[in-house]
Each structure stands twice: as structure tokens, then as C-alpha cells.
Amino acid sequence: MKILRFLPALGLLLACWASAAAPERVVVLGGALTEIVYSFGAQNRLVGVDQSSVYPAAATRLPKVGYYRSFSVEGVLSLKPDLILASDQAGPPEALAQLRRMGKRVVILPSAANLTALEQRIYGVAGALQLREDGRSKVAQLRSQLAQLRQHKPAAPQASALVLFSRGGTPEGAGRDTAADSTLQLAGFRNVLARQVGYKPLSLEGIAQLQPQYLVTTSMSLTALGGMEKLLALPGVAQTPAVRQGNVLVLDDLLLLGFGPRLPEAITQLQHMPSKASGEPQQGQAK
């Protein structure tokens, strides 16, 4: 009987502990993770992000602590975070170690572009934000969406595609072991740059020689390259079957390169590329 008297106190204690542990000031280092935080509707807890957090647009208005690969320790500290969500590519490693030594909670999540890592990212963010239930339902939803998409036959099975993007005006191509490559494969395409590893500069002659049937690029790349007309007029690009048949798709950067919670949407958009000449290049729904 005596023990019952303690129960309310115990409950109160647990509630206090739970509320104390739920992080309220979160800094994210890595755009893919920011997107996951938004997908839980937990953006009100974000106090800062890195420069790669470009989706959704609201994220770009949060204070920036630099690019996640070379973020500023002091910048993060000045936002007084109680949780730092970092991609395993965030760094320099010493900076993360410094944050930890100063008693900050740093949760590092895998950045690899495969489904296991994506689920780990979602679970990890959910766990750190104490939204485990949302994490589970998000992953379940993702799995069922992907299963559905697998049944959907792509427009042309194993059609060849080239992912072309650009950071500073020179075209680069996505080879093996990239998020773009994984997304492409999940959508049922064959990457014409499968023999190359990573993102590398691409020669215009090389593009012509690869003869991709589909051309995929990102909205930021298009800006860097000077717009759709400039891209289509690039010598080499103009000679590809993709451009001749109008099979050009533009996706938003994190949709194609982020391997985030919108993966099913990316796959859907890739699979719905027209297979016949339609004259006009397809503009993806970049939200």
C-alpha cells in the first residue's frame, strides 16, 4: 500500500525526465537530415542548419552555420543547441569532437545512398527528437510506397540515363556510389556512367559518345549552367537521343541527390518521364 503513494511522484518524475530530454533547440548539419526533420513537422525545434539544407525553402531562412563539411563550431554553439544532428560526412571530425567534449549531444547519422541507411537516418532523427512513433510510421509508409513503385514498370525497361549536374558552370556526371545513381537504379534506369565512381567533371564529347536516352539534371545545376536553352544547346548534349527526343527531366537538388524521405517521389518522377518525343522538355514538379 505504501508504494502506491509514490506512484504519482514517480509518474511526475518520469514526465519531467521525458520533457527535459526532448530536445528543443536543434542544429542540423546536412540537408538530407533537415528534410527528415521537416517531414516530421518538427521544424519549430530547428534553430540552425547548414548551407546544404535547401529543401524546403523555409529551411534556407534559418541561421546558417556554414557548409556541413566545414561548419563553424562557434557558430553552432552560439545557437545554444541541445541537440546536433550531423551527417557522417559532416566535419571536420575534430569540430564534432569539440562539440561533444563541451557536453553537447551530437547524433551522427549515416549518409550512404541506400535504403538501409535511409531507414537508419529516419529512425535516428526520430529517436533523437523523441518522435519514435512518427519514425516507425514514416519508414512503414516509405516501404509500402517503394514496394508499389517496384511493381510499376518503368516507361522503357533499363533505358539508359545520364545524371548531369553542375556546381560552378562546368557539367559534371554522377557515376557509381552516388545518391543520384541509386535513385536512378531504383527507378529502373541504367546509368551510362556506371564505370565511373563518384561525381566527376564530364567532357562534352563524352556525353555525345555515351548516347543516353534520358537526361536528368537538377534545378540548381540548370541555374549554374545558364538555363535550359544553354544546357540543350551544349555541343555534345545536343547530339544525345535524350535531347533529340525531349527526354530531359529537371528535379530539385535534394530530391535527386539527397536520398531522403521523398525518395518515392523522385522515383515516380523519373519513371514518368515520357518515352516518346514530346517536343517540350519535361519540367519536374520542383516544390
Binding site: 540552425g48 548551407q51 541561421p63 546558417k64 552555420v65 556554414g66 557548409y67 563539411r69 566545414s70 561548419f71 563553424s72 563550431v73 562557434e74 557558430g75 553552432v76 554553439l77 552560439s78 545557437l79 560526412q89 566535419g91 571536420p92 575534430e94 569540430a95 569539440q98 567534449r101 563541451m102 557536453g103 565512381v197 563518384g198 566527376k200
Partner: protein
């Protein structure tokens, strides 16, 4: 200050007391170190400092503990590292200018920095990447480029030979670094990018523990060369007649510079212009006597880099700029000014 100094006739330039200037620089360095410790993305009130150093911190003062660990973990190693790196860069600038007998010789311009970077990068991409291997590789790279620059630079009178040699050496080194970046994977790339612009963000106590004894010993050794450097000012033949073993002196200086610049570059990447701007300013104020110039350059370089690092940290808060951008932004115009003015000092 500089405008007044520049317009003074030659004879008056040397009248400043070297001890006074050195003391002033030391005082400036202390002030700048204080400033960079206290001000940043997180501001620490000055009155909290004594409590942090001597006083006990009450358990409820969470903020105070945060400030304390920020000071000890982040700012102090970084400020000390900036002072050390700046001092060594300016010192090697003075050495290079005396050895090459050329006012424009500077570790970055003549290729010592890019050579060191190439050495470090090749180790990172080809294998390992531990600092134990990095520093010797950077030293070897730096040594090779310094020797090349020296011999090529001597073939032409005046500034042209050395600068052209520097241009070619830098181009070769940076293109080889570019080639390595093509082989590098994503993680290595991240480590490589900072060589382009330099960074002090890697400053930590363990790195300081490695570098400080090394760099301080090298710098103290360099300070002892002031007589030889003064003799070189007169000309190699004159120095020889005065009894200085020129060949040995030259060899020792080249190795010494590479020993200083190489390992530093391995830790900071390329930070340009400190080795050019600081020695020139001080030569205008103090004259060319290396006995005073060498220690003053160390202090001045330390001041310059601590200040530049502080600017890099506060200009785009809460993010930060690569420090090479700040030093080039200030050093670049000064370099142009030197070129326009001809051969000062």
C-alpha cells in the same frame, strides 16, 4: 600609421627604437589574443573571465561552464595556433627575402607552400594521412620547390626570374594536387579542399603539442642567423669576403625554411601574404637590420594572423570564412601596391 611612415625620408626611417616597436607589437599581440578569446559568435563578457580562470564555478552557472569549455576547447588552441602560424610565416618571409635577395620572395609566392601542400596531399591520397607522415612529406615537397625556386630565380636579375619560377612551380604543384583530387574519394576530398584556402579550424591541443616545440625550435634557430642575413644584404661576394661561408649558409637557410613551412602547411593549408606584408611593413618601420627585424616579424605575423582569424570568424557569423580569403583580401592589394611602387625597402 603606414602612410606617415611611407612618406618619411630614408634617413628617418631607422630612427624608431627597435625595442620600443617590439614591445608595442608584443602588447598588440596580447590585446588581439584577448579580443579573439572573448569575442566571436558567442560573446564572453570580460568580467566573467577572472571567475573562469581562478574562481570556482557554481553548479547553477551553466553558461559559465559553457564559456569555459569554449575558451579551453576551441578558442585558446585556435588563437595560439594562429599566433604561432603567423609568426612562422612572417619569419620565413624575412628569411626568404634575404636569401633570395628579393623583396617579393614569400613562402607562398615562390612555391614553398604549394610544394608542402602537394607533399601532404599525396600522402593523404596515396596512403595513411596521419600527421606523422604528413609533416615529413610536406617538408620534402617544400624543400624541393624551394631549391627549384632558388636556382631558377638566380638565373635572371631582379624580380622577374624568381616570380616566374614561382608561377611555374605553383602551377605544377596545384595541377598535381588537382590530379590527386580526381583520384580522391569523398572523404579525402573534404580533407583536400582546405589546402586551397587555408584553415585554422583544425587547431587542437594535440596538434599544438606536436607543432609548437618544432616550430619554436626552428624559429629560435632562425633568429641566430641575423648576422649572416645582414651580410647577405650586402651581396654574396661581400658576405664571402666578410668571412661568411655563403654556400653553407644558403643550404642551411633553405632547409630551415622548408622545415618550418612544410609541417605548418600540412596543418593549416596555404595561407598567403602574411610572409610578404608583415616583413615589408616592419622593414619600413625598423630598417633592414635582421637582428631586430626577425623577432619583430614573428610578433607582427602573429598579430596579423590572430587578427585575420578573428575577422574570418566574425564576418559571416554564425558561419566562418576560410582564413586564406581574409589574408589574400588584405594582402593582395598590398602586393599590388608594392609592385606599383617598384622595389621598396
Amino acid at each position: 600609421m603606414s602612410a606617415a611612415v611611407l612618406t618619411k625620408p630614408h634617413s628617418e626611417r631607422h630612427t624608431r627604437s627597435p625595442a620600443g616597436v617590439t614591445l608595442l607589437l608584443a602588447f598588440c599581440l596580447l590585446l588581439l589574443l584577448m579580443l579573439s578569446l572573448v569575442k566571436g559568435a558567442v560573446s564572453i563578457p570580460l568580467q566573467a573571465l577572472p571567475n573562469m580562470v581562478w574562481g570556482d564555478i557554481p553548479a547553477e552557472q551553466v553558461e559559465l561552464t559553457m564559456w569555459q569549455s569554449l575558451l579551453i576547447e576551441v578558442r585558446l588552441p585556435r588563437a595560439l595556433f594562429a599566433a604561432l602560424a603567423g609568426g612562422v610565416l612572417a619569419l620565413t618571409g624575412v628569411l626568404a627575402q634575404a636569401l633570395f635577395r628579393n623583396p617579393l620572395a614569400e613562402p607562398a609566392l615562390v612555391g614553398m607552400v604549394s610544394g608542402g601542400a602537394l607533399g601532404a596531399v599525396s600522402i593523404i591520397v596515396l596512403g595513411g594521412g596521419s600527421f606523422l607522415l604528413l609533416a615529413p612529406a610536406a617538408f620534402i615537397g617544400s624543400l624541393i620547390t624551394t631549391v627549384c625556386a632558388y636556382h631558377l630565380g638566380r638565373r635572371y636579375p631582379g624580380v622577374a626570374g624568381l616570380l616566374l619560377a614561382g608561377v611555374a612551380i605553383n602551377a605544377i604543384c596545384f595541377s598535381l594536387i588537382g590530379l590527386f583530387t580526381y583520384w580522391a574519394d569523398e572523404t579525402q576530398l573534404r580533407t583536400l579542399t582546405f589546402w586551397n584556402m587555408g584553415s585554422l579550424a583544425g587547431a587542437r591541443w594535440s596538434l599544438l603539442a606536436w607543432l609548437t616545440p618544432w616550430l619554436l625550435a626552428g624559429s629560435l634557430l632562425a633568429l641566430r642567423y641575423w648576422r649572416g642575413l645582414n651580410a647577405l644584404l650586402l651581396g654574396e661576394r661581400e658576405a664571402l669576403h666578410l668571412g661568411f661561408p655563403i654556400k653553407a649558409l644558403r643550404r642551411q637557410l633553405i632547409v630551415l625554411m622548408a622545415l618550418l613551412v612544410g609541417p605548418l602547411v600540412a596543418a593549416t593549408g596555404g595561407i598567403g601574404f602574411i610572409g610578404l606584408v608583415v616583413p615589408h611593413l616592419l622593414r619600413m618601420i625598423l630598417g633592414a637590420d635582421h637582428r631586430h627585424l626577425l623577432p619583430a616579424a614573428m610578433l607582427g605575423g602573429a598579430c596579423a594572423l590572430v587578427a585575420a582569424d578573428w575577422l574570418a570568424r566574425i564576418v559571416v557569423m554564425p558561419a566562418e570564412l576560410p582564413i586564406g580569403i581574409v589574408t589574400s583580401l588584405i594582402g593582395g592589394p598590398f602586393f599590388l601596391y608594392l609592385l606599383i611602387k617598384g622595389r621598396p625597402a
